[in-house]
């Protein structure tokens, strides 16, 4: 931070700071968005396999006549040069028209709208668990630094961030489903069905988040304003919650935002293992059958989620960090 020695009182210009900051942020997103659509489109067209062949000759035993081939190719718009295909696709995508699946002939937008709530529910559960257990454990570790609660949690979080989610998933199925018979294996039967998938998507993130919170809180606890808050006669818990946490949360916000965007598009493993009909499961099916309009739509969707989350993180930053609001330079 570069604090100029004297700042005129009239320099109280929070709204201007916000507008400038968000304006800059939004401008940088334009090339990002364009780049994403190009990559998403090329991933589809560039992928190996001929979609026309795949549609007409699903099991590989049919003989396709050149006339039939041409008709389907024309219908899919694959005779146009690639840039034209891209512009058509982009125009459709911008109006929300993502096309139809080659195989099921179902509208992709409708399919995604149907599947999205499952993924969102899972992602929210993962985020909630990370916030509660990750930040909670991190605070406890920082407050009890080097004493037994810290040592135990440090070991547990190290284990958590080192084991892969699918391994935890299989272990949980063995214990809670096979042995104890407490939880349903797969499919959706009420809230109980979300417990194991929720743990699967959040276990390593909880570990990372707890570590991050611990470091961040310890950094802040050494700062002078903490001593001053205690000198007012405030008890340690209140100092931690009111003074330390708002500062410590600034770096954690970014981490949580990226994580949330990540599981919105990437809870695939949990969705497949526990057979949840979410976006990730849809994408896996599409990849398996080279249903490339669906793959394109999926890539576009996850990328958009990242972009939207980036904007959201920036907005949250504005709320938690007054320095940005005031247009102050931040290190």
């Amino acid at each position: 931070m570069t604090a100029s020695a004297f700042r005129p009182l009239s320099g109280y210009s929070e709204p201007m700071g916000i507008v400038k900051y968000m304006g800059k942020r939004l401008l940088t997103l334009i090339p990002v968005l364009l780049g994403i659509t190009i990559v998403a489109f090329l991933l589809g067209t560039g992928a190996p396999g001929d979609p026309v062949e795949a549609i007409l000759n699903r099991d590989g035993t049919q003989i396709v006549s050149p006339e039939e081939y041409e008709i389907v190719k024309e219908r899919l718009g694959l005779n146009d040069p690639i840039p034209i295909q891209y512009i058509k696709w982009l125009r459709n995508a911008m109006t929300g028209e993502l096309g139809q699946s080659f195989f099921t002939n179902k509208d992709i937008r409708e399919q995604m709208a149907y599947r999205l709530p499952y993924t969102v529910r899972l992602a929210l559960l993962g985020l909630g668990m990370t916030v509660v257990f990750g930040i909670g454990a991190g605070m406890v570790m920082a407050i009890y630094k080097d004493r037994w609660p810290d040592r135990i949690l440090r070991t547990i979080t190290t284990v958590m961030l080192s084991v892969p989610g699918f391994w935890i998933a299989i272990l949980m199925i063995l214990i809670f489903v096979e042995q104890l018979k407490w939880l349903p294996t797969s499919g959706l039967n009420g809230w109980k069905s979300y417990i194991m998938p929720g743990i699967t998507v959040s276990v390593s993130t909880i570990g990372v988040c707890a570590r991050l919170t611990r470091t961040s809180v310890l950094d802040e606890l050494g700062r002078q304003y903490v001593t001053v808050a205690s000198a007012k006669g405030m008890n340690a818990r209140l100092v931690a919650i009111r003074h330390v946490l708002p500062n410590a949360l600034i770096p954690i916000t970014t981490f949580l935002g990226n994580y949330f965007a990540g599981i919105l598009g990437g809870s695939t493993i949990a969705e497949v293992i526990f057979n949840i009909p979410g976006i990730g499961n849809y994408a896996i099916d599409a990849v398996k059958s080279r249903d490339y309009f669906v793959v394109q739509a999926y890539v576009l969707f996850t990328a958009m989620v990242y972009v939207v989350m980036t904007i959201l993180i920036d907005l949250i930053y504005l709320a938690v960090n007054p320095k940005i609001r005031a247009g102050e330079r931040v290190e």
Partner: protein, 314 residues
């Protein structure tokens, strides 16, 4: 009831990975009511640690030894909860590093209000009135506006006055000012002096002034304690200690002031190896004898309540 602060065989030890480190030892003194006591010494002499030890605001690895009586209350025997009632309310702090002392993500008004509402929940309006009055007194022309700002939007001098406002919120009986002029230029030092003088004249005369700034201590204090390496080497009235220093260290310190020709205190003298158990000033003392090396001097009482920790005055 008398509310003087009396410390007896008071000390602070830090338990570090390299073993215990004694920061303050064997301090015996009375901070009398109606008096500003200046705690002077170079950096690392333990003066801030001593001040923060009275408030028990030290890092977790610090242990406090001895006794610290506040009126009839033994502070070292209080629970953390009871100590919270003392802090800010009875004994307040004007911390060092004003810019670092305010929370950068909370508005100033909230931090000031909180100082009062912690002790008296529900007194939000009174707190607001109080900080606006105090701000006006300390030269803020638009208290309402400033209270909605953040510390990083204020200048160094404004932050300095702001933490004085913070310390005064609850009309404390005692005020501990920790290095109020550290790192400030001449103009701000003058401002700090005026603020502290205003406080001693209108708010409370009971003040412990921790400073390396001998000129500031002379202007504000009635009594002076000289610290060196965690021990009080000399204590007495301002006139006695600063004008007629008795201890060789105090003499060196006064002689090193700019107006006295800036004569440095010597580096460790040749042939004097590092010893433990003797006088803390033995290594650099121009008048040291063999005895100073082996024996630890006790405080000798002189006239006028003055005490000197040196064999020259036994």
């Amino acid at each position: 009831m008398g509310k003087e602060i009396k410390v007896c065989e008071f000390g602070v030890t830090f338990h570090t990975a390299h073993g215990p480190v004694s920061a303050v030892r064997d301090v015996n003194t009375v901070f009398r009511e109606g008096e500003v006591t200046g705690l002077i010494g170079e950096s690392g002499s333990g003066k801030s640690v001593l001040g923060m030890a009275i408030l028990q605001l030290l890092p977790a690895n610090a242990r406090i030894e001895g006794s610290c009586l506040y009126g009839d209350t033994e502070l070292t025997a209080l629970s953390e909860k009871e100590m919270e009632q003392i802090r800010g309310n009875e004994i307040a702090l004007i911390p060092q590093n004003p810019v670092e002392s305010l929370n950068p993500v909370l508005r100033i008004g909230r931090q000031l209000t909180e100082a009062m509402t912690i002790h008296a929940p529900g007194k939000k309006a009174e707190a607001k009135q109080r900080y606006q009055d105090l701000m006006s007194r300390l030269g803020f022309s638009r208290p309402e506006l400033v209270s909605r700002q953040y510390s990083f939007q204020l200048s160094g001098g404004m932050n300095q006055r702001m933490i004085a406002v913070l310390g005064l919120m609850n009309r404390p009986v005692w005020m501990i000012a920790d290095e109020p002029t550290k790192g400030l230029d001449a103009i701000l030092r003058r401002q700090v002096y005026e603020v502290l003088q205003e406080i001693t004249m209108r708010d409370t005369r009971n003040m412990i002034l921790i400073t390396h700034d001998v000129a500031l201590a002379r202007k504000l204090s009635q009594k002076i304690l000289v610290l060196y390496q965690g021990e009080i080497l000399e204590q007495g009235t301002v006139a006695d200690v600063l004008d007629h220093p008795a201890h060789p260290y105090t003499r060196g310190l006064i002689g090193s002031l700019p107006k006295n020709g800036m004569k440095p205190i010597g580096q460790p003298l040749k042939g004097r190896e590092d010893i433990t158990g003797g006088c803390v000033f033995y290594l650099r003392c121009p008048q040291a004898t063999k005895r100073c090396r082996q024996e630890h001097p006790r405080e000798s009482g002189l006239e006028n309540g003055r005490k000197v920790r040196c064999f020259l005055y036994e």
